[in-house]
């Protein structure tokens, strides 16, 4: 998504790709809004199987949330390295961000497995269906983010990136921060607020 026609400067002063990413993220807000609403409506509807407060492990999820937040910090470092055109640090911080993201996803895989063992399947109850759908969608977003970060590292190494490097890093950074912010909302609404 790096098409730019260079005929004249953009009317808003923001590059097309960045503005495009903003628009996309605006749209994503509604996607997560819908999923979160569904969860909020259904979280207390348990006709069988565990209820939210019976299986949530708040200390663990707090730690994994913190790790995801840290990854936003490293993403910021990557973007600032990109502005300084320090290729080594771009690669380094992108990798660290991806690793932190992977740690988070690893934690989510663990959490899903543990919940499943404790009796919460995807089809067990409305709580189960909506919980796995919401957090699963978020997990997929993080995973896509990791793939983008790793690919970016690979592509940068081969110096194949079309367009401006800093812009691409910044665009992926926007996405990554968005995914983090969404997690903060999910963490608060899903885990912290009792049913």
């Amino acid at each position: 998504m790096t098409d730019v026609t260079h005929d004249h400067a953009s009317s808003t002063g923001i590059s097309n790709v960045k503005l495009g990413m903003w628009a996309f993220l605006g749209s994503e807000c509604l996607l997560f809004g819908g999923l979160i609403s569904t969860y909020m409506l259904y979280r207390g509807r348990v006709t069988g199987g565990p209820r939210p407060s019976q299986i949530f492990d708040i200390p663990f999820t707090s730690v994994s949330s913190f790790i995801l937040l840290m990854s936003s910090l490293t993403m910021v470092l990557a973007v600032s390295a990109a502005h300084k055109e320090d290729d080594r640090k771009i690669n380094l911080w992108l990798t660290v961000t991806a690793l932190l993201g992977a740690t988070f996803v690893g934690g989510q895989v663990y959490e899903f497995t543990a919940f499943y063992k404790e009796g919460l399947g995807f089809s067990t109850s409305l709580f189960g269906s909506s919980f796995y759908t919401l957090t699963g969608f978020h997990g997929v977003h993080v995973t896509v983010g990791i793939i983008m970060l790793m690919s970016l590292v690979g592509i940068l190494k081969r110096s194949k990136v079309p367009g401006k490097k800093a812009e691409v890093v910044e665009m992926i950074g926007l996405y990554w921060h968005f995914v983090d912010i969404v997690w903060i909302v999910i963490f608060t609404l899903v885990y912290l607020i009792p049913v």
Binding site: M40, L41, Y42, R43, G44, R45, V46, T47, G48, G49, P50, R51, P52, S53, Q54, I55, D57, P59, F60, S62, V63, S64, F66, I67, M70, T74, L77, R88, K89, L92, W93, T95, V96, L99, L100, A102, T103, V105, G106, G107, V109, Y110, T113, A114, K117, E118, G119, L120, T124, I146, I147, M150, S151, G154, P194, V195
Partner: protein
């Protein structure tokens, strides 16, 4: 005349078709497979066609003399392994079979591309570049996903083995290590690449080894027990606090409107409030075979649960206990919903009722016409 891209996609098409023909053996519905094949051929053909149109590579490809040089190749070996898996899978389970199919497909395509690239020109570096050009877009993401997948999976197995608090600590440790390592690299730009690679490799190996060990040693005790006993999947509708079902209570309710009846335990009396009737009732009418939502509200001092007696179960055993369903123990002022579905009308030997656990005399008759 056949361009390299053409060969590549033609191969992909043929391979997909082969895979699907194989799967015909596994799936019952042949008509669907037929459609699926059409679809796949269409996909392959589209790409093949594209390749023809672009006459990709003809400028270099057409008149290149085949060089005799061959390089060492991993792919025949992997192909062999894939075939073995395939055969094993036919005997054992379909997962192994599919694993074999995937390995085989991957190996064959890599082999094919490599073979082609070695004959593409007499220039070895050009050949290597051509191979990369074709395969990197697939290899990069697949390898990244595989690598990440293995690490993530191994990590989650470790977490499943250690107990909850250790898990949280472990999580902090891993996160911190990643951060610290990153920072170290950042402030020590002179560190040798090999040192960095070694640290990363060690970390990965550690996690994978830990994962394997954990997977072998099995998950932590309480999880294993929960999976075995189904802690939350059965309800205990007796008067006493049940160990898991009542462990944590949900007191607020997302279901508030349009319920069939609200059952209130008020000052030691059980009453039903029904929309349209102003007086509290002692019986409710519930349509047969219909998922009917009611709300139980406790307005008496103490913790109580509402139990619904669903009559004798459908077994021939006339002495067996009645089927019951229930809410959790609800504190004063709390409420919870309960969904009833009663398939048989009430009759002389089929009575349904709602009552308070431990106080069978506080009851509401449920009429199923």
């Amino acid at each position: 005349m056949f361009s390299t891209g053409f060969k590549y996609f033609f191969g992909v098409t043929v391979l997909s078709v082969v895979a699907l023909v194989m799967s015909v053996a596994l799936f019952k519905n042949l008509a669907l497979i037929g459609v699926a094949i059409t679809f796949l051929i269409a996909a392959g053909a589209l790409l093949t066609g594209l390749a023809i149109i672009t006459s990709d590579g003809t400028t270099r490809d057409a008149n290149v003399q085949t060089s005799d040089m061959t390089t060492q190749s991993l792919w025949p070996l992997v192909t062999g392994i894939g075939t073995v898996f395939l055969a094993l899978g036919l005997v054992t389970s379909s997962i192994v079979f599919f694993g074999g199919v995937v390995v085989l497909l991957a190996a064959l395509s890599e082999w094919m591309i490599q073979a082609w690239s070695e004959r593409a020109s007499s220039d070895a570096s050009h050949n290597a570049e051509a191979r990369k050009r074709l395969l990197n877009p697939i290899e990069f993401p697949v390898l990244a996903a595989l690598g990440l997948g293995v690490v993530i999976f191994a990590f989650s197995r470790i977490m499943l083995t250690v107990d909850k608090s250790t898990g949280a600590v472990l999580f902090i440790v891993v996160g911190t290590l990643v951060l610290v390592a990153g920072t170290l690299f950042a402030i020590k730009p002179n560190m040798k690449r090999s040192v960095g690679a070694a640290i990363c490799a060690l970390g990965a190996i550690g996690i994978i080894a830990g994962g394997v060990a954990s997977a072998v040693s099995g998950e932590r005790e309480e999880l294993a027990l929960a999976a075995e006993e189904g802690h939350f999947t059965h309800k205990e509708c007796g008067p006493e606090e049940s160990e898991y079902f009542d462990k944590l209570k949900e007191e607020t309710l997302s279901l508030r409107s349009a319920v069939s009846a609200t059952i209130i335990y008020q000052d030691g009396e059980l009453i039903a409030k029904i929309q349209g009737l102003n007086k509290p009732q002692k019986s409710i009418t519930v349509p047969r075979s219909n998922a009917t939502n009611i709300i139980f509200r406790n307005a008496t001092e103490g913790e109580f649960r509402l139990v619904v007696d669903l009559g004798k179960p459908k077994t021939e055993d006339k002495d067996s206990d009645h089927d019951v369903d229930c809410t959790q123990l609800i504190e004063t002022g709390g409420e919870q919903s309960l969904t009833l579905k009663i398939p048989k009308s009430s009759s002389a030997d089929n009575h349904y009722k709602l009552f308070i656990a431990g106080a069978e005399d506080k009851q509401i008759i449920v009429v199923v016409p």
